[in-house]
Symmetry: C2
Subunit: 334 residues, 2 copies
């Protein structure tokens, strides 16, 4: 079975997706009888479209972003197309998220669903901003949508919740959902350096990005957990009701004090049918999240009939995210 | 959509399945549009069959086993039936496993697949003994088979391997797959009592069964890991080539010695494309299995593109096993 793929956004993750699709082409055909053919890549300024399939090897010789798509097209004498030229297939949405507007992901997802296409979303913005609307649209269009890459990527949080716990009720979700803030807290714990020192060093070493407000203020955690909660719990809460507190005011004295008691401070997101809360919490050794250190993430599902299920690990990298988008594609069609 | 269910074996797990199916009937219909109707329960000496569906509430008033089925049938004036009377549906195989013959599960599974029924197996025997044959039969019959309950039950080992890692290659599986032996090693570590003392006390307290050879000699671990390996890796190994060493010769001195070094001894199963090995190993604090203690189990997938994925927890109980069989049923039909 051949499946046409359209990718919106042409950054690091999109490039990794192309690479992996090529690497596993024979295996996917053999194992799942699915052949993915990338027919379009939508950059911010150029839309590359080849009905017969884009030559991934050739394209990989160019860089990232719209200019690379344009150069490739120029050399192949392909004209720029518009969304209207594309008919059917699956959209992989991988544009950078604007969390305030949900754009440009929202427009691409809406376009795809209206055209009865399936969607795999790596970007969070549209899902956080328009979750209910997108789910209504997809039911109306009979489209499928998966978004492992918008929650915990290579760590299977959506899968375990939707698939492995399909027979029971999830009472509560607790997790460390952001790698950067967990790394900072782990460094404070291990090296007993203060917050500002670690931020400075991490940025110099390229471990943390220049703008880490999104990570340390708990917003990334809240966004991921909101998407999980809307998908897995029966809560009717809205995003604005989430109580969010970041790690920016955690003092080294507080870390030391808890360390003496045998505890760690972690940035935890908790969700149940009452709502969502994100804040630094004291975690004892009996909590499985105590052992989730450094850039690692972890999630605990407390269930009605299956006890607690703990999932941790998963590579936080463009490759890990790309692989999580591809498994969503496979799981839609297998 | 209505789905007929046939259960072979009428022990604790089967009874829990009936209870949960009743409890979640409305939810499953609403959420998945599936209504499961239990039409037959196959005891070792009596086959209860009601085409219109068995009254689960009424049956629950009786005990377990064939005699309860027979008493229920007598009071309802239902005659005993044979397998030939049953047409279509899904078989839940939950008979006690004879690991040497794979029976009686093997006969039931073969009967179901030959009759183009789908299968959810909780028993391991047939899968360990006739894995390749069963998989060939099911392809020929276009049947589906799932067996979460025969591997790690409520802990989603098969799901994560098959579904969440569908886009990548699993290089290696490492796990603590048996709760009883892990409990014994944890007690030795915490209380520094020797092996025989703990076995004696556990048996007196009803924590361990009278015959625990299957657990402590590593056979249960090997069986579960064999089923996972055949399902998830590309290994062509056979069961006889598994190297198995149990925990029965672990001395308290050895445990103490490793404890001083900061290590624990755990009964670990390791599988890769080369084969399977089960033996007690020294585990350091950098290994996620170090933190899997008591009756808990845990599994680590080392993957090519998604890093390492760790899953632990999951209730080891008839209810946990029952819930894992029901999720398999849902995931076959949703």
């Amino acid at each position: 079975m051949k499946k046409k793929i359209i990718i919106s956004g042409y950054g690091k993750v999109a490039k990794e997706i192309l690479k992996l699709l090529k690497e596993y082409r024979v295996l996917f055909t053999k194992k799942y009888n699915i052949e993915f053919i990338v027919v379009a890549v939508i950059g911010s300024k150029f839309l590359l479209y080849q009905e017969e399939g884009i030559d991934i090897d050739d394209l990989s010789l160019y860089g990232l972003g719209s200019s690379s798509l344009e150069n490739y097209a120029k050399n192949k004498r392909i004209k720029s197309k518009t969304l209207n030229d594309i008919k059917g297939g699956l959209l992989i949405e991988s544009t950078p998220t604007d969390i305030n507007t949900g754009e440009p992901g929202y427009s691409y997802i809406k376009w795809a669903i209206k055209n009865k296409m399936d969607v795999v979303s790596l970007s969070k913005g549209a899902l956080v901003k328009y979750f209910d609307e997108i789910m209504e649209m997809k039911i109306e269009s009979n489209s499928q949508i998966k978004y492992s890459g918008a929650t915990m990527a290579a760590l299977p949080s959506m899968d375990v919740g939707l698939y492995s716990l399909s027979s029971t009720k999830i009472d509560r979700i607790e997790g460390i959902l952001n790698g950067t803030s967990n790394y900072i807290l782990t460094e404070m714990y291990n090296k007993e350096e203060n917050f500002d020192q670690i931020i400075k060093r991490s940025q110099e070493e390229g471990i943390a990005e220049k703008n880490i407000d999104y990570d340390i203020k708990g917003i990334d955690t809240a966004n991921k957990l909101y998407i999980l909660t809307k998908s897995l719990l029966t809560s009717t809460m809205n995003y604005k009701s989430i109580k969010i507190e970041g790690i920016e005011n955690i003092s080294i004295e507080k870390i030391r004090e808890e360390k003496r008691k045998g505890n760690k401070i972690k940035l935890i997101g908790i969700a149940d049918d009452e709502g969502i809360e994100v804040r630094p919490m004291e975690i004892s050794q009996s909590n499985p999240l105590y052992y989730v250190d450094g850039k690692e993430k972890g999630i605990v599902y407390y269930t009605k009939d299956m006890g607690k299920i703990v999932v941790s690990g998963g590579e936080s990298s463009p490759k890990g995210a790309a692989s999580s988008a591809i498994k969503d594609m496979i799981n839609i069609y297998r």
